[in-house]
């Protein structure tokens, strides 16, 4: 079913970014959550959004993934067929389809991003069935493949995630998102709540998958170590505004803005 009407999309620009954000702002009553945020994201690029809690980075992520409607600004996304569309000018069916196929969303708490009552196999297979997969054997094989890719014992394919450790649940959530070969993944503190050794392993996995699949990602985190490992570029937010952007190593090794300098210096080495 083609959910995208020609009126919703503009013709492809040459070399358009995957995501083009201009002047994005969102307030809750009198409180400004994020203000005048603009950036471009290119295919295969991982952007880290860092800042303390209250900096507006999570609100930004929810606006970009259309879970929240921004008060101002434009978010332009390049669809698979090359055309560019403003996300809130698309119809709701079109957005829902994007969320299930072209995008992934990795929640901080894997329980928010999994169906706890369903088996691991069903969790991974859901996106495939949502777009018409109708061969049980094929779905199961894809699920098993992905369990192996995220280093979960394939014997657990029929177990529910309730019996999994936190790290395993998070890896299952990643598999569930990536099975549909999304081009853009939103991640909200993907390693938050996991202990340090588990974190390291997960970050390695994520970096490998992003490279292998050419994924673009926007990773929100307060942990600069995570940002350094995953992100090509960083955006530093404070009080709802972007205070500094640049290549990850540059921002972390040679911060220009006073706030960034403060953040970096308070990083545990």
């Amino acid at each position: 079913m083609n959910a995208l009407r020609p009126a919703d999309v503009a013709p492809a620009a040459e070399e358009a970014p995957l995501l083009g954000v201009t002047g994005l702002s969102k307030s809750f009553g009198a409180r400004i959550a994020c203000h005048d945020v603009s950036f471009d994201l290119w295919p295969g690029e991982v952007l880290g959004v860092v800042g303390e809690s209250g900096s507006g980075k999570t609100t930004l992520l929810h606006c970009l993934s259309t879970r929240l409607r921004p008060d101002e600004g434009r978010i332009e996304y390049q669809l698979r067929d090359g055309r560019v569309a403003e996300l809130f000018e698309l119809s709701e069916p079109a957005r829902r389809l994007l969320m299930r196929t072209d995008w992934g969303f990795v929640h901080q708490n894997p329980r928010d991003g999994l169906r706890l009552g369903l088996s691991a196999g069903a969790n991974i297979g859901e996106r495939l069935m949502a777009v018409g997969a109708r061969h049980y054997g094929g779905i199961r094989e894809a699920a098993v493949d992905w369990l192996a890719k995220v280093e979960i014992d394939i014997a657990r394919v029929d177990d529910t995630p309730q019996t999994f450790s936190g790290g395993m649940q998070q890896r299952l959530q990643i598999a569930r998102n990536l099975v549909s070969k999304p081009r853009l993944v939103f991640m909200d503190e993907p390693t938050g709540g996991l202990d340090v050794s588990v974190q390291a392993r997960l970050l390695d996995l994520l970096r490998g998958l992003c490279d292998e699949l050419g994924l673009a990602a926007i990773v929100v985190t307060h942990d600069l170590g995570v940002a350094r490992l995953l992100a090509h570029r960083l955006m530093v937010m404070r009080g709802g505004a972007v205070v500094e952007t640049g290549l990850t190593d540059q921002v972390l090794d040679d911060p220009q803005h006073a706030y960034t300098q403060l953040l970096v210096s308070s990083m545990l080495q």
């Binding site: 079913m1 389809l97 949502a130 061969h135 779905i139």
Partner: protein, 286 residues
């Protein structure tokens, strides 16, 4: 002032007032125009309890006329208590002819079975539906299920089937087995055994579904495709018995298990009493 309000107990033909019938017929027309889609309607409080067939009764009351012949079955039998009660209701309020013979009926109101004898193209079958929404056990909220139908987001239903096969090796839904109507809408056929699902596909009769308590009407027009959900490598199958009907010998009908003693003795007989009777009659004539 209507006779009913004057309290002398006589009611409009088939109980419902004409305005209500018109409202229900409009809902039926919309349902027929969109096969498998659940049309909300303003279900009336009836003299029978919600959950006991009020949806089917309202549909029948809205389409029945003086010249119709009505058959009412429950579990395939004309003599079960609720079928008797509903048939009496129409005898009292409409005075129409009633029959137990499937072939002789112009309207068949049914709970939980489709008659074994194939229907023909000037018959209407009215199903009593308890829960119309096929996604209800997956998503309790009506606001969300309406969206899923609008966008044909039926993935979660297949996930349920997948899970059954993964856990039990087969789909464990034995009745009220979900179907796709006219290649578009996911529909619940009402709690008929899956044995009866194939009868809905390309049926010459008009099939109407009424859910009184949940306030929905839906329909399958004649000669419409109705496909039971399955996977390509786990195709939909129906029940089979090792036994035949102990009375008429039928090996192609849905059989009821009847417990005959407390030693584990039992026998199997046709659930469709009219089918069984007509086979017996034919055999006696030979």
């Amino acid at each position: 002032m209507s006779d009913a309000a004057a309290g002398n107990g006589s009611y409009n033909f088939a109980y419902l007032d004409e305005q209500t019938k018109r409202m229900i017929r409009r809902a039926i027309l919309k349902a027929v125009a969109i096969p498998g889609y659940q049309v909300p309607f303003a279900s009336r409080e009836m003299p029978l309890p919600y959950g006991w067939g009020t949806g089917g009764i309202q549909v029948t009351a809205s389409i029945i006329g003086q010249g119709d012949t009505l058959k009412v079955i429950d579990q395939g039998a004309d003599d079960t208590t609720n079928a008797v009660s509903i048939r009496h209701f129409f005898e009292r309020t409409a005075g129409v002819a009633t029959t137990e013979q499937t072939a002789a009926a112009s309207i068949i109101q049914t709970r939980h079975r489709i008659p074994e004898a194939p229907l023909h193209d000037n018959q209407i079958i009215v199903y009593q539906v308890p829960i119309p929404e096929p996604l209800r056990w997956i998503e309790p909220r009506e606001a969300e299920t309406r969206k899923m139908h609008a966008l044909a987001e039926y993935g979660p239903m297949y996930v349920r089937l997948y899970e059954d096969i993964a856990q039990f090796g087969q789909v464990t839904t034995a009745y009220d087995y979900p179907v796709v109507v006219n290649g578009r809408y996911l529909m619940r056929p009402s709690p008929i055994p899956k044995f009866d699902n194939p009868k809905m596909d390309m049926n010459p009769a008009l099939q109407l579904f009424g859910a009184g308590r949940e306030k929905r009407i839906y329909a399958v027009p004649p000669y419409t495709s109705v496909k039971s959900l399955d996977f390509a490598d786990h195709p939909f199958t129906v029940e089979r018995w090792a036994q035949c009907c102990a009375i008429c010998g039928a090996d192609d009908s849905f059989l009821d298990e009847v417990i005959t003693d407390d030693q584990g003795g039992c026998m199997f007989v046709c659930s469709d009493t009219d089918y069984c009777r007509s086979r017996q009659t034919a055999q006696a004539a030979e």
